[in-house]
């Protein structure tokens, strides 16, 4: 187990390092002068030189990379060019928005997907099963941003139950939650389509096994068999997809925040692109990539907790 953990952790750190090199390379080494990108073609040479000094662009690339990584590890992502404040401050102000959206979205995804998936498996080849399969096929093809727009048309424009977008802050918790309902549903419905399908096929596999037949013969209730005997043993593929989907949900928040004008990190990225604020974009892209890599790493570790056999194989 210790060897397994060590191997995976070293792999994880190496992946993070390489990802940071890729992000740094794309943002800094590709042809083009970041100072020129930020200030625009009409900027004076003096202004460009001053910014080059400020951004440390006159140092060798390698030094700049090391500095960026070391500072980032200390929570210093440099200064935002357009806001004139430290990037870390901008992130701290907005991260609660993005995290709540991602966490609510993921929870709702799991609840919807597990109920639908197990329900479909229990009604295999019956009407409910076809309904779930149809939902999941459709869910994969519907873009989250279009679903969001449809939800806004229905619940904000026609029925006027919920706000069409924006976020009033947590000062008024009821209003805050109301404005998060549509974004969370939009995020979760699309993701749960994939997960429901995986849950269904994984549950079906388990339901064929002998011990389930034994459990049925022993007279356990259907509900108990499904949730206590089938689901726990169907979890390995489900956890894989949940891990992959956590990454998708986190990047999905970038899109959803822009659809609903929510002041989170996803909005910040797009404001920074529009403002040519490269240090902020670089920090945020790196952050999202770190979340994706970490999610994959955790899934890897979870496997061995859920299914100890996988540990032996490595």
């Amino acid at each position: 187990m210790a060897y397994f953990l060590l191997r995976r952790t070293i792999g994880f750190v190496l992946t993070l390092l390489t990802v940071s090199v890729v992000v740094f390379a794309v943002m800094n080494v590709l042809p083009g002068d970041p100072a020129l990108t930020i200030l625009g073609l009409e900027a004076s040479d003096d202004a460009i030189n001053a910014l080059r000094v400020k951004l440390g662009l006159n140092e060798p690339v390698f030094t700049r990379y090391i500095n960026w990584v070391l500072n980032a590890l200390n929570g210093d992502f440099g200064e935002s060019h357009s806001f004139g404040v430290p990037v870390s401050g901008l992130i701290l102000e907005r991260i609660s928005m993005t995290v709540s959206l991602a966490v609510f979205g993921m929870l709702l995804t799991i609840v919807i997907a597990l109920s639908l998936g197990v329900g479909a498996a229990a009604n295999h080849r019956k009407f409910g099963d076809w309904g779930v399969m149809f939902f999941s096929q459709l869910g994969i093809a519907v873009p989250a941003f279009w679903l969001s727009i449809l939800l806004v048309i229905l619940f904000a424009v026609k029925l006027r139950w919920l706000p069409p977008g924006g976020f009033p802050g947590w000062g008024d918790p009821l209003l805050a939650i109301k404005s998060l309902i549509l974004p969370t549903i939009a995020l979760a419905l699309v993701q749960s389509a994939v997960l429901a399908r995986v849950t269904r096929s994984s549950a079906l596999e388990v339901m064929r096994l002998d011990y389930i037949r034994t459990a049925k013969a022993s007279g356990f209730s259907r509900k108990r068999i499904l949730w206590r005997h089938v689901l726990p043993n169907a979890l390995v593929p489900i956890v894989t997809i949940v891990g992959m989907q956590f990454a998708a949900v986190v990047t999905g928040t970038i899109v959803i925040e822009n659809v609903f004008y929510l002041p989170g990190l996803g909005r910040l990225i797009f404001q920074s692109i529009a403002n040519r604020d490269l240090p902020t974009v670089q920090a945020l892209v790196m952050m999202f990539a770190v979340i994706v890599v970490t999610a994959n790493f955790i899934v890897d570790l979870l496997y061995s907790v859920i299914d100890p056999r996988l540990r032996e194989r490595n």
Partner: protein, 273 residues
């Protein structure tokens, strides 16, 4: 004759409709898709404008048709580019083996850390948003996917008897790769390409919606939706048609890919049932 799988049939029909529409738009659209005519704005569907007009008096149907052609072109270029680079890398890994194989596969792992959106964001920040950057970003995420599939399928073929026979007959590894391995891994590659085509259509729509893809006046389903979103209280119908087009195209290629996989790999279809 064996009955065709339902998903293949439905997918095939949808894909056929989308491709015909895209091809037709090359020859003729009912109106000029970019022609603005403010006095004709917000028409409901009628005999002249079959699906009505938008806020600038442009014909919706013509815009949707022109956008379908762009969407297909973007998906085709991105999947061809990313797919061929990925397949070649996978073949390279499988042919040479050893540390080269390890290196290629570790790089593929890292590629998975970047969703297309993040890559497009980086490119847009450095070079400004454009359709070319969107295509590059979508192509990029396809590289690791195809590298993995090509390598895994190729490694299976390398273990077959007829390849061993070719080796015994003195054929070089590179010759074997192109004359025996590549033709035999084409089926899974094509299946994957069909599925990734659907993913690419979805990605292009999302990137264009966010302003990182097609720039005005280039017609795009995603961009039409972002324009329609500002008019939801005034003309909600404008936000319906482009979304439906995306769903039809994505569903079509997705089902077609699933169907092709069921045919080429019967083991999977049994499990999936």
């Amino acid at each position: 004759m064996k009955k065709l799988p339902t998903n293949l049939l439905i997918g095939g029909i949808l894909v056929f409709v989308v491709l015909i529409t895209a091809a037709l738009s090359l020859i003729r659209t009912p109106h000029d898709h970019a022609l603005m005519n403010i006095s004709e704005k917000f028409h409901q569907p009628n005999n002249i404008y079959l699906l009505g007009t938008d806020q600038l008096g442009r014909d919706i149907l013509s815009q949707l048709m022109a956008a379908s052609r762009n969407s297909m072109a973007v998906a085709l270029i991105a999947v061809l580019l990313g797919g061929s680079i990925g397949t070649l890398l996978g073949l390279l890994a499988s042919t040479i083996g050893g540390w080269i194989e390890e290196l290629v596969m570790r790089f593929a792992d890292i590629g998975f850390a970047f969703p297309a959106l993040l890559f497009a964001i980086m490119l847009a920040a450095v070079f400004g948003p454009s359709l070319t950057n969107a295509i590059l970003a979508i192509a990029f995420i396809n590289i690791p996917i195809f590298a993995r599939i090509a390598r895994a399928s190729a490694n299976q073929i390398w273990n077959l008897d007829f390849v061993t026979a070719s080796k015994a007959a003195g054929m070089g590894r590179v010759t074997i790769t192109f004359s025996h391995i590549l033709p035999n891994i084409l089926a899974p590659i094509i299946v994957q390409a069909t599925i990734e085509f659907a993913v690419a259509i979805l990605a292009e729509a999302a990137l264009s919606y966010l302003g990182l893809g097609a720039q005005p006046p280039a017609p795009s389903w995603g961009r039409m939706l972002s324009e329609a979103q500002t008019l939801l209280y005034l003309a909600p119908q404008l936000a319906i048609y482009p979304g439906l087009c995306i769903v039809i195209a994505v569903l079509g290629f997705g089902l077609l890919g699933d169907g092709l996989r069921d045919i080429t790999d019967p083991r999977l279809s049994r499990i999936r049932q």
